[in-house]
């Protein structure tokens, strides 16, 4: 039986790694996800085998200890799994693709909460055992002092023996599981609130914020040390949990809506690292490996997102970017006018175009325009034009957000290009169609050193022959920066709701 569990666990480890590898190609990705899910099933099965084995061992070993492992614990496990299915299946089925960032955020939070609870539960187990040992001891004291010293087991030693390692180390990992898990939980809840509009997406800033957060970190570190050195103090653990919740809120509140791709990636990483810490605390190698894989995945994505905005992680986390409206230096004092175009006029240009690049942004998601966009792309292709989608890495509210929306609208993935694919040939593009994107096409990022966006890689639509910008108004984007693109010679604004505009264009193609 033990061999069976080992096979199941090793198989699970291999499955998780293979699954992740297969996720790297669009053709194999779906199968990869299935492989990964099977690995999870294998891990759960292996765990069941281990639990049943331990039960049998206890039952045959000694009758009195068998009573401690309550037989209905497995019923509770089954109940928890059932809850997972009842909540998880409809959520996964019904969620809209535009709401994917919210979904990932809340699930991340659940993962964090689970790790926190595992850490807490592990501590609780040792603490209960310690208390009952203490009670036995209290009954014996006075009669025989020799027994007293023999039975007197410290909580740290119990934590160590349950966790399979040095007691202080195990306590420290429990603390980490609780801290990272707690931060992931409340941080994800705040991110969820911001993404779904319950909380303002503007960064929430106040004086001395960084100082207060720094103090909070120090207090938490102090509480951690206290917990490791003196786990018997029963008030320390709840304080640690509470502080980790506060830290999660404090860390995400100052971050604005447009920086959410970074926050979600980072929280994704944290949920893995929390699982990792729980793995150390419960002596579970599979948890350590898989938690590390997820942790690494989040780190890679975080880095890609930061590079795509040419900002450091520290800048994203602490600067409250987008809270102040900054003026583009070129716009000062100058009175410029943007040209505006009706969909009817735009149609004539598009009709003659042989190369079109479409740049989608968060505005496309808000307007739910992805299906209309796909229809327009089809019309353009039928008209003989070469159509590509240029997707900026931070377009939308999570990494790859635009790609999923376009895939939902049946845009084939070969058409989804990255900025490095389209920028070199931008001069040959007849029309660049910017749909609900703003900062990612701001030419100041390339040419204006005083712009806060300077250095950020952009889709260089300003170099295309014609640029059509579909937008409600000339308002600034998330970064609060003027966009000189709107005033260029080759740019025309098509004001109005993106979806309505595109449907009008499609209508022109159909009737023309």
């Amino acid at each position: 039986m033990e061999a069976l569990a080992t096979i199941l666990f090793v198989g699970a480890g291999v499955g998780f790694i293979l699954g992740l590898r297969m996720l790297a190609h669009p053709e194999t990705a779906r199968k990869g996800n299935l492989v990964s899910a099977c690995a999870m099933g294998s891990a759960v099965l292996g765990t069941l085998v281990t639990i049943l084995e331990a039960r049998r061992g206890l039952a045959s070993d000694a009758v009195e200890t068998a009573a401690s492992a309550s037989p209905d614990a497995l019923l509770y496990v089954a109940g928890g799994l059932l809850v997972g299915a009842v909540v998880g299946i409809p959520a996964a089925r019904l969620v809209k693709m535009t709401s994917m960032p919210e979904m990932v955020a809340i699930f991340n939070g659940f993962g964090g909460a689970a790790s926190l609870l595992v850490g807490w539960g592990t501590f609780q187990r040792a603490s209960t055992a310690h208390q009952s040992a203490q009670r036995v001891l209290d009954g014996v004291t006075g009669d025989n002092s020799a027994i007293t010293t023999e039975v007197n087991v410290s909580l740290t030693a119990l934590l160590g023996s349950f966790g399979g390692g040095d007691g202080r180390f195990i306590t420290a990992t429990i603390f980490l599981a609780i801290l990272i898990g707690g931060v992931t939980f409340t941080g994800s809840l705040i991110a969820f609130g911001k993404l779904s509009g319950f909380i303002t997406t503007r960064p929430l800033l106040y004086r001395g914020q960084n100082l207060i957060n720094g103090l909070l970190l120090m207090v938490i570190a102090g509480a951690g040390v206290l917990l490791v050195m003196n786990p018997e103090e029963s008030w320390v653990l709840p304080v640690c949990i509470g502080l980790s919740f506060v830290l999660g809120v404090a860390a995400v509140v100052p971050i604005g809506g447009g920086d959410m791709p970074v926050v979600i990636s980072l929280l994704n990483s944290y949920s893995g690292l929390a699982a990792c810490a729980a793995g150390f605390a419960t002596d579970n190698t599979l948890l350590i490996i898989v938690g590390a894989l997820v942790g690494a995945s989040g780190i890679v994505l975080t880095r890609i997102m930061c590079l795509a905005m040419n900002r450091s992680l520290a800048n994203v986390l602490f600067s409250g970017f987008g809270s102040v409206t900054k003026q583009s230096s070129g716009a000062k004092g100058e009175h410029r006018e943007a040209r505006s175009l009706t969909p009817h006029d735009a149609y004539y240009v598009l009709e003659a175009a042989s190369s079109v690049v479409i740049v989608p942004g968060y505005g496309m998601a808000v307007a739910q325009a992805q299906h209309a966009v796909k229809e327009l792309a089809d019309q353009l292709e039928a008209n003989g034009a070469d159509v590509r989608f240029a997707v900026h890495p931070v377009a939308g509210r999570m990494p790859g957000h635009m790609n999923v929306l376009l895939a939902e609208a049946n845009v084939p993935y070969e058409q989804l290009a990255e900025i490095d694919d389209v920028n070199p040939s931008m001069e040959t593009v007849d029309v660049a169609l910017v749909i609900g994107a703003n900062d990612v096409v701001n030419p100041d990022a390339k040419g204006n050193e005083s712009s806060p966006l300077y250095g950020m890689p952009i889709v260089e639509v300003n170099r295309a022959r014609n640029v059509f910008v579909l937008k409600r108004s000339l308002r600034t984007g998330f970064a609060g920066v003027e966009n000189p693109l709107f005033y260029l010679e080759n740019t025309s604004m098509i004001f109005g709701d993106a979806k309505a505009t595109i449907e009008a264009l499609v209508g022109e193609f159909k009737s023309g």
Partner: protein, 94 residues
């Protein structure tokens, strides 16, 4: 080698492996990657199951059961929604 050391090495190697694997994922697939790895982080589920089976107090059992619930939502929902998304990624003409 003592146990903590072995675990620490395993952790580091898994980190490096993860970095190498994820680096190759194209930008198109970043959202499915996130929700997929999110589902994987629900691996805490097995830790929660063990803790539940060893619980010796009703508080401990309650904590562990809640952990099983949270992690199971994460696993079930995460894998299903990732599958739903990946099913939408199609080749031209497919």
């Amino acid at each position: 080698m003592d146990k903590i050391q072995i675990s620490a090495f395993i952790f580091l190697l898994a980190m490096f492996l993860g970095l190498e694997l994820i680096r190759k994922v194209p930008a198109q697939l970043h959202t499915p990657l996130m929700s997929g790895s999110n589902a994987i982080s629900g691996i805490t589920l097995i830790g929660a199951m063990v803790v539940a089976s060893q619980a010796e107090s009703s508080l401990g059992l309650g904590l562990a059961s809640a952990a099983v619930g949270f992690a199971a939502v994460n696993v079930v929902g995460g894998y299903l929604v990732t599958d739903r998304m990946l099913a939408m990624f199609k080749k031209r003409g497919a």
